[in-house]
Every structure is written in structure tokens, then in C-alpha cells.
């Protein structure tokens, strides 16, 4: 999987790269419009993460270029400007997703995975983790072949966990993933706990293993180690 990150803030770009590299992606990062243009004309990427405000141009124009050359690349916009106009324009001209800075790294990771899954026509469009199997298109989950009935939030939670397996997910990032950033964090922590408890119970009822580990004071980790 090849990913191109276009972000002018060096530290931010470094963090994103470090997080994504663990996913066995081939990640490249460029700091400006010009270099990005060069890259997208030369190589084929599975996903491009592009910041709108670049020192030498507008990231939206890169998307226009990509569409002109009929690239199949998935596109995620990241922007500090929480502007509806940018979001609408971006999605209209062909971006797949839009993330507002600051975002949680697991969130970006989950979005990239979701886009890559959606784009891999013909390929395996499912998430498998040991005895767990998720079919995102049908929103179906099975544990050792038995189907699992989950609520929308429990399903979202499971997919989020599976996209970031073996990583600690902070309660903040889970809350934001499930309810967006308008939720006041303090309220949602015990609520998240309830959801996780239910999810855990449902998986274990079907004979699944308990993969969700609580990391003290911090959050949760989905792992079989």
C-alpha cells in the first residue's frame, strides 16, 4: 500500500508517518504543493492525505489535478480550517473524506483503511482478526462463523478497534470517533466503558476471545497478545 502525505508542518507530518509506518504502508511525505505535484504525476498511490493550506498553493488544486489524470487514488483532506465551504468543495471535486485538524492519529488511520478497503475492488473487502470477520459493505460481523448482532455504535467501535489493532486507543479518540467532537469528553468516558463492556460481552457470548484490554487511566487496546 502506497500513501502520500502532503503536509507542510514538519512535526505533524513526522508523527503521521511514524504512526502509519507501523501499518506496513509505504509512506512518503512532501511539504509543499510543487513536490506533491511532481510525486502524483510520477507515481501511483493508494491513498493521498492532503492539507489544504500549503505554503505554495491550495491543496484543493492537487485534487483537481488528480481527477484530471483520472487517478484512482483515495483522497483525504486534512485542514485546520473548519470550513464547510472547503469541505463541500473538497468532496465535490472528488475527495473521499475530510478531517479537521487537530485529529487523532488512530482516526486518520481508520479513515485511510476504510478508503483503501472501499477502493480495493475485486480484492478482499473484509476485515479479519483471528476468529472475527467483518464485512464492511454489509455491516456484518461474525465470530467463528456465527453472526453477531451489534448496535451501530458497537459496530463502529469494533471497526475502529480493528483498524488500530495492537495500539492503545485513548478514550478521547474513541469518544470523538463515535460522537464527533461536539461531545464533552468527561461525560462520555463511562458511556464508552458501557459500550466496550457490551461489545466484549457479545463477542464472548459467541465464544470469541476477549481482545479488548483496558490500559489503566488511558484507554483500551485491541490485541491478541
Amino acid at each position: 500500500m502506497k500513501i502520500l502525505l502532503i503536509e507542510d508542518e514538519k512535526e505533524l507530518s513526522g508523527s503521521i508517518l511514524e504512526y502509519l509506518q507501523k501499518e506496513n504502508y509505504l509512506c512518503e511525505a512532501v511539504p509543499d504543493f510543487e513536490h506533491a505535484l511532481e510525486k502524483i504525476n510520477l507515481y501511483q498511490y493508494d491513498c493521498i492525505v492532503v492539507d489544504i493550506n500549503l505554503p505554495d498553493g491550495n491543496g484543493l488544486n492537487l485534487i483537481r489535478v488528480l481527477k484530471e489524470i483520472k487517478s484512482e487514488t483515495g483522497i483525504i483532506i486534512i485542514s485546520a480550517r473548519n470550513s464547510l465551504d472547503d469541505k463541500i468543495t473538497g468532496l465535490e471535486i472528488g475527495a473521499d473524506d475530510y478531517l479537521t485538524k487537530p485529529f487523532h492519529l488512530p482516526e486518520l488511520n481508520a479513515r485511510i483503511k476504510s478508503i483503501i478497503r472501499r477502493r480495493s475492488f475485486g480484492g478482499v473487502n473484509e476485515i479479519v482478526f483471528n476468529d472475527l470477520r467483518v464485512l464492511p459493505e454489509q455491516m456484518e460481523v461474525t465470530v467463528s462463523g456465527q453472526s453477531l448482532i451489534l448496535t451501530k455504535k458497537e459496530y463502529d467501535l469494533l471497526v475502529f478497534f480493528l483498524s488500530n489493532k495492537d495500539r492503545i486507543l485513548t478514550r478521547e479518540s474513541i469518544a470523538e470517533h463515535l460522537w464527533g467532537d461536539e461531545m464533552d469528553m468527561a461525560d462520555s468516558f463511562d458511556f464508552i466503558y458501557t459500550h466496550i463492556k457490551n461489545l466484549r460481552k457479545k463477542i464472548m457470548e459467541k465464544g470469541g476471545e476477549d481482545y479488548i484490554k483496558t490500559v489503566y487511566g488511558m484507554g483500551y487496546k485491541f490485541t491478541d497478545q
Binding site: 512535526e11 487537530p102 492519529l105 461531545m183 464533552d184 461525560d187 490500559v215
Partner: protein, 425 residues
């Protein structure tokens, strides 16, 4: 009390007082003058009688001469010379009642050594009538003069104060965050021009300070975004390190939480300054009940989790013309507020009418002054972890669209009312 009423009223009070006092003085003066005149005639008559008695040593019939009551009594013994004049009440045959008379009494001795007394009574009624007439006509003149003066004063004052009211109107309509500085029209009155100048100068200074402060806030919030994002992502990477022990994780968790809060705060402040700068221009017609349903649905699990019962009462379709993002933020803030400050197994009541919308929730009584509720960083003592910008944002959005937000606490319900929504067919 209006300035004009106040001056007119004082004017009338003082005038009436002066009128009463001067009336009293005039009345007394007239009274004394008339009395003195009457006394003079009485004395003259008395002298005439005395002269006649001295001359002819007999008592003539004066009644015919003067036409009023004169009584001369001859006494056998000589009398000392004495006498007085005073007021008295007597039966007045002409009027048929008792009336005031001026009474002269005199004792004297004639040449033939016979004493005699003279009693002359002169009715006061004529002079009293005259005085009354004078006083009445005087007061008529005075009252009409007073009325005229008050009227003239009223109209002059009204004209003179016109520029003042214009300045006042201008001032009360002016808001410091308006795009243009305060400008007041010139008047032809020196003092009002001074006032306008002083106000303009002051507002210019305040406006400049306000703009500087606003710019600083915006810049600060904006510039903080990137470092905050870097801190957050670096922390997220740090958390993933394998060899962290529990105490390190605990520390990291605290840092992470604080950073998240700071980031939320910053976003809130940025949003407020964006609203203030009117950066949400695009508007749409928004169905209030639809957006409410959507938001309630969004928080559905949270509501269930807390056992909160939601009662919807959409009596009338209501529409808001506003920016869709702001509408969503407004409703989300109101609903999440109603959930957050609710009690376990509480209630939320939504009431939509044509031009008002209320959201009421059960909850414990607040110690905060309701007037402070919409201030920034005003937090509930029950939720110290919240950022405290929610209602402030609500207020800002409402202000932008000329909506009124009121808070009420009644019968265990906290109610927020959004009113004066523009009516849209």
C-alpha cells in the same frame, strides 16, 4: 421621568407656589387698604357728628345723611374721651344674614356737659366683593400666563433637545463590533457638539481596543492550533511505546487529557471569533423539528444510557434561516447541555412553536447566577471538567441571527428559550 416632564413639572410647581404666596400677600394688602379707607371715612363721619353736636348741641338724624347705621346716644353724665374701631358681626337686614361690619365706637362729652356715645357700623361686604373680584381677575391673568409660559417652555425645550435625543438614539443603536466607527451628526448647539465629539472620541478608543483584543484572541487561538496538534500527535505516538509502566501511563494520561481540553477550548474560542467575524455567511432554511430529531437521535444512546425520557411537542412547524453549520452547533450545544446537566432518569422537554423554541431539562439547582450562565468559562459545579463555552457559543449564534435566549428555572426544570425567531411561511 423624561427631562421635559421634569422641567415642566418643576416649572409648574414653583409657579403655583409663587402664585399662592403672592396671591395671599396681594389679598392682605388690598384688605388693609380697604380697611384703612373705611376707617378714614368712619373717622370723618365721627368728626362730622362731633362737630354737629358741639355746634348745635343736638343730635341730628344722620341715618338719612349717610345711609347706614349710625347710633348716637346722649348720656346724662359727662364721659371721658375714648373710642375704637373694630370688626364685628351683625345682622344685615339687607342680606338677611349676619355679616361683617366695621364698627366705630366713640365716647365724648358735649359743651353742655352731656356725655354721648357714637356707634357707626359700615358693612364690609362691598369692599370684600371688590377684593374677591380683583383676586379672581388677577388669578385668571396669572393662570393663563403660567399656562402660556409652560407651553412655550415645553415647545422650546422639545426643539432644543432634539439633537440630544438623536445622539442618544444613535448611541443606543451602535455596537462596538460594528464595521464602522461611531459617527454622530453635527448639531447647531455647541454643548451637544462637544458631547458628540467626546462620545466619538471615546468610542473610537474603545473600538480600537476591542479590535486589537479581538485580533489578539483570534491570532492566539489560531497560532495555538498547530503546536497543540503537534503535542497531541506526539503524545499519541508516545503512548504507543511498548515499555511504558503504569505510573508513566498515568502521567501521560493526565497530560493527554489536559491537552485535549486545551484543544477543545481553543476550537471553541476560534469558533466564537469566527461567529463574531461573521464568517458563516451562507444561509439556508432549516426545519427546526427535523434538526432536533436528528440531534436527539445522534445522542440517542447517551440519552438511553442515562435513562432520560425525551418529550417532543412540535406544535407548529418552525424554520430558521441561518447557516447550517451554526444551526447544527446551536442545537447540538443545547441538546448536549440538556443531557449533561440532567439527572439520572430525568426528562427533556422540547417545545417548538411558530416563533419560540424551548428546551427544558430536569436537573439539580444551580448555584450560578442565571445572568452569568452565558458568560465564557462559566462552568457548572457538577461538571468541572467541561470547557464552559457551550452556552456562550449558543448566545453568540443567537445574537448573530437576532434570536433571544432566556434561561428560567421553574419546578425543577431548567428551561432555555429561544424566541423571536423570524417567521417563515
Amino acid at each position: 421621568m423624561k427631562l421635559l416632564t421634569r422641567t415642566s413639572r418643576s416649572y409648574i410647581y414653583i409657579s403655583v407656589m409663587v402664585f399662592i404666596i403672592s396671591g395671599f400677600i396681594i389679598f392682605n394688602m388690598l384688605h388693609n387698604i380697604f380697611k384703612r379707607q373705611l376707617d378714614e371715612t368712619l373717622n370723618e363721619e365721627k368728626l362730622l357728628i362731633e362737630q354737629t353736636i358741639n355746634y348745635s348741641d343736638s343730635v341730628p338724624d344722620f341715618r338719612l345723611v349717610f345711609g347706614h347705621m349710625i347710633d348716637v346716644t346722649i348720656l346724662n353724665s359727662p364721659q371721658k374721651k375714648a373710642g375704637y374701631i373694630r370688626d364685628t358681626l351683625m345682622y344685615d337686614s339687607e342680606l338677611g344674614t349676619f355679616a361683617s361690619f366695621r364698627h366705630l365706637f366713640s365716647e365724648n362729652t358735649s359743651i353742655s356737659n352731656k356725655g354721648y356715645t357714637i356707634n357707626i357700623y359700615k358693612p364690609l361686604r362691598d369692599s370684600e366683593k371688590l377684593i374677591t373680584e380683583i383676586v379672581i381677575s388677577l388669578s385668571l391673568v396669572f393662570t393663563s400666563l403660567l399656562l402660556l409660559l409652560v407651553l412655550v417652555n415645553y415647545f422650546i425645550a422639545r426643539r432644543v433637545w432634539v439633537p440630544f435625543y438623536r445622539i442618544l438614539h444613535h448611541l443606543s443603536n451602535y455596537e462596538i463590533n460594528q464595521a464602522v466607527p461611531l459617527e454622530l451628526a453635527k448639531t447647531d448647539i455647541y454643548e451637544f457638539n462637544l458631547l458628540s465629539q467626546a462620545l466619538e472620541k471615546m468610542s473610537k478608543k474603545i473600538r480600537l481596543d476591542y479590535l486589537n483584543l479581538k485580533e489578539f484572541n483570534e491570532n492566539a487561538a489560531h497560532e495555538l492550533q498547530t503546536p497543540l496538534a503537534i503535542i497531541k500527535t506526539k503524545l499519541e505516538l508516545l503512548i504507543q511505546k511498548e515499555n511504558l509502566d503504569e505510573s508513566q501511563l498515568k502521567l501521560l494520561s493526565a497530560v493527554f487529557e489536559a491537552t485535549t481540553r486545551m484543544s477543545k477550548l481553543n476550537q471553541g474560542l476560534l469558533l466564537i471569533s469566527k461567529i463574531e467575524n461573521n464568517q458563516f455567511l451562507q444561509t439556508e432554511k432549516i426545519d427546526l423539528s427535523k434538526i432536533l430529531d436528528k440531534t436527539i437521535d445522534h445522542f440517542g444512546e447517551m440519552i438511553n444510557h442515562r435513562g432520560i425520557a425525551v418529550f417532543k411537542n412540535y406544535q407548529h412547524p418552525a424554520f430558521l434561516v441561518m447557516n447550517p453549520v451554526l444551526a447544527e452547533i446551536l442545537i447540538t450545544n443545547l441538546v448536549s447541555n440538556a443531557i449533561r446537566h440532567n439527572i439520572l432518569n430525568g426528562r427533556i422537554e422540547l417545545n417548538v412553536q411558530q416563533d419560540t423554541f424551548t428546551i427544558a431539562n430536569t436537573g439539580i439547582i444551580m448555584k450560578t447566577d442565571p445572568r452569568d450562565l452565558f458568560q465564557r468559562f462559566r462552568k457548572s459545579e457538577n461538571n468541572p471538567d467541561s470547557v464552559g463555552l457551550g452556552l456562550s457559543i449558543v448566545q453568540k449564534i443567537a445574537n448573530l441571527y437576532q434570536l433571544k435566549v432566556d434561561y428560567q428555572h421553574h419546578a425543577g426544570f431548567h428551561t432555555l428559550k429561544i424566541s423571536s425567531m423570524r417567521l417563515i411561511p
